[in-house]
Symmetry: C2
Subunit: 455 residues, 2 copies
């Protein structure tokens, strides 16, 4: 005997029976994130297929006093896209419409459920590119990337997701629809709601469609894998690299992580040897940047260099950076800490974080990589149990003590809400809370994210 749930009946009336899931086996994939650290039971999973359906579903949930967890590709790392227990999961993946590319304006409209890879293929067919790229491109959706202000590999050149968003359509908790999709580069007509929704982690509204800025596809592209004597030398190199035209990415990794990638993936020996600190650098432009890059790389502090301009060669060099994620996952479920530091404090932080982790989690593996150009390090720790927050506490406090951020690009979610006060003063937290309560007075959207339920 299955108890009937009037909310499920109401949602079914909106989207049809195929798109409301209540059977545990059907819901399982929506209830756990891909790190497997964050999971919870859903009351139901609803999959609206249009903006009007999103609005109707939100009204049904409001009427029932039910909380809603918006979900895109479910590739988040801070527990913000899976239920904490008993919420309705609203999956937006059916909102997968893509508009015609406007080549003159270099813009496109994309539904929240379009994956990054789909977006990239669609705009590439029109001879354009998208400014944000990240490893989860086959699953991550545009809506989720907006909600988390996703960063990734090219922030150095193009900025994070917020810098790509020219307009948004979103549904507020009361079911009303806000729409600014004209693609205007300039529109100083009141508050920047689109920018506010970027990075709001599903707590203010459900993003249904976005208008996106596109970037040129450059005819010349070169990738370099570079060994340096250490992070100080890498930071010196970064300053000199800023003069290379079309600098797009400066990614950093360390000898232990590179060795782990080699051991786990069979990539063979690193073409630049066992340097303590290694970079993946990419430049792209109208002119071939190889010579300009080579000039900088022939300067001091570089212990080895491998350069490729062909797609196959470039992919092989990028693999050293991109396969860090799977390599560390092979060790167990990682605590994924994602911090940013002022560039002047980055080396001091990196030197201090390894002993700080060892002190609270003796024997744990710590693997660090990140986006050097943005001062952003991903600190991955494998060893402590998933429910032990001692490692997180040590790393996040250290970052805050160095003037850094406790979340560079992953967001706060459930995982880091305990530490929000480390870098946000009480007046700042109060202001955020006031905005939340102004737009979602019933605290219906993604409760437990940013603040614990009841706070």
């Amino acid at each position: 005997v299955i108890d009937s749930d009037p909310l499920v009946d109401a949602l079914t009336a909106v989207v049809g029976p195929t798109h409301v899931l209540t059977e545990p086996g059907m819901m399982a994939g929506f209830e756990v994130d891909w790190t497997r650290r964050w999971r919870g039971r859903a009351r139901a999973v609803v999959r609206p297929g249009a903006t009007a359906e999103v609005a109707s579903c939100l009204r049904c949930c409001a009427d029932a006093g039910a909380a809603v967890v918006p979900q895109g590709g479910n590739t988040g790392l801070v527990g913000g896209s899976v239920p904490r227990g008993g919420e309705v999961v609203m999956s937006l993946t059916r909102l997968d419409g893509l508009g015609d590319v406007d080549r003159a304006a270099a813009q496109v409209s994309a539904g929240a459920g379009v994956t990054l890879a789909q977006l990239q293929a669609h705009v590439a067919a029109a001879g354009l590119g998208f400014g944000v790229d990240l490893a989860a491109r086959d699953s991550a959706t545009v809506g989720g990337m907006v909600a988390t202000n996703a960063g990734g590999l090219h922030v150095l050149r193009h900025g994070a997701m917020r810098a790509q968003v020219l307009g948004v359509e979103a549904v507020l908790a009361d079911g009303s629809v806000v729409r600014r999709m004209d693609g205007l580069v300039k529109d100083n007509s009141g508050y920047d709601l689109a920018g506010l929704l970027c990075g709001s982690e599903g707590t203010l509204a459900v993003v249904t469609e976005v208008r996106l800025r596109l970037v040129p596809v450059w005819p010349h592209r070169v990738t370099a894998l570079v060994g340096t004597g250490g992070l100080d030398a890498a930071l010196d190199l970064l300053v000199r690299l800023r003069s290379v035209p079309g600098l797009e990415a400066v990614e950093v990794m360390f000898a232990d992580g590179v060795e782990l990638v080699r051991a786990e993936t069979g990539l063979g020996p690193s073409p630049v040897g066992p340097a303590p600190c290694q970079l993946v650098i990419e430049c792209a432009g109208l002119e071939d940047p190889t010579d300009a890059l080579g000039t900088v790389l022939s300067g001091p502090g570089v212990t080895g260099t491998a350069v490729a301009s062909d797609p196959g060669g470039r992919t092989r060099l990028w693999a050293w950076r991109e396969r860090h994620t799977e390599a560390v996952n092979s060790l167990g479920v990682p605590h994924k800490l994602d911090v940013a530091l002022p560039l002047g404090r980055l080396a001091a932080f990196e030197a201090a974080v390894r002993p700080a982790v060892a002190a609270v989690a003796p024997g744990a593996a710590i693997v660090i990589w990140g986006h050097l150009g943005d001062g952003n390090l991903h600190v991955n720790v494998v060893g402590p149990p998933a429910d032990d927050e001692a490692v997180d506490d040590a790393v996040l406090r250290l970052a805050a003590a160095h003037g850094g951020s406790i979340s560079a690009e992953h967001g706060i979610g459930v995982a880091k809400r305990r530490w929000l006060g480390l870098t946000r003063a009480p007046a700042d937290v109060s202001a955020m809370r006031a905005i939340k309560d102004a737009l979602d007075p019933g605290r219906m959207l993604n409760p437990g994210v940013l603040w614990a339920v009841g706070q």
Copy 2:
């Protein structure tokens, strides 16, 4: 006999008697904007010299139930920085501190009262530049530019003010201070308050200091004055110009405006003759962009070209664009409309706006110029009385009907609040209003801006 005002006494206790003005002659300059269209009497003018004084003054005003109009360089064009009647004007120009330039990170901290020209000189001394430039640079302040999300000449390359702001310090209506000044490129820790304050026109908080992104100073810079057969040809040219490296500005003006500039300024005949539509184009980069620009300008649609790479020659070409403002002011007090259109609708709007203005204001002069690369036209109308809104109504309705914005970069202020509903749906306006009331529940900050008092 002068009646004593307890609020004036309280403010004087905070900032000292020198920095509280109540005498009409002393307040006059703070009570009228530079277009002379917007003016009102102030209860007092207070000039705090530190963030803590801003906070104390706001608490004094809150205690007295007094409204506050924050004011920077008072170069706004929509009546947002002068009193409507009886408010305290808070002038921020004494907050003029400039931090050391961080060359490695390419950042600087600036007080709200620093003028754009002071900022430009300060960072130039460190070999860097600032991404926003505009004609009012000697008076416009950093705080005002943040509050209005100022645009200007280089939005095409660097974005508007919001894109330059890495962090902000601001005082909320209750006197509490929000501070995010670490200069982190990435910090996804809750809502983007800095971005929200950009363009909020003094209605949400008083900005006291900002952390700004800086840009390179390019060794090569070239300016071109270009005649085209019309706006359609200019738009075709714009698409081809996007492939020129380092494209920084594409400014547009029309034959009647160019002739007015010639007549009013004594610049002599235009070096490109009487073309119907003229552009000022600027490119800058590590490599000399002259050849790449020349190749595009030798293509179809160009009727005349003058190019300069030396500072004197570049200034002479820019004068045709920059002196439009004084030329139109010589005709009388203009209605300054500032609209943005999707690029595909720009020519249709430009063709329709002249007869639309003539229909409601026969005999009025209409002079149009703008930032073509951003789809942004400044429509200046001289002739109707300052208090006649028929012209504004005609132009703004036409822009909205073409999918455009009623305020590209000037903001809404007092001048355009009547028309906010043309491009913002009721749900959108309600959301903005909710945010306003969340952060300033007493509606103390800049009442009458964005919404009429009492709405």
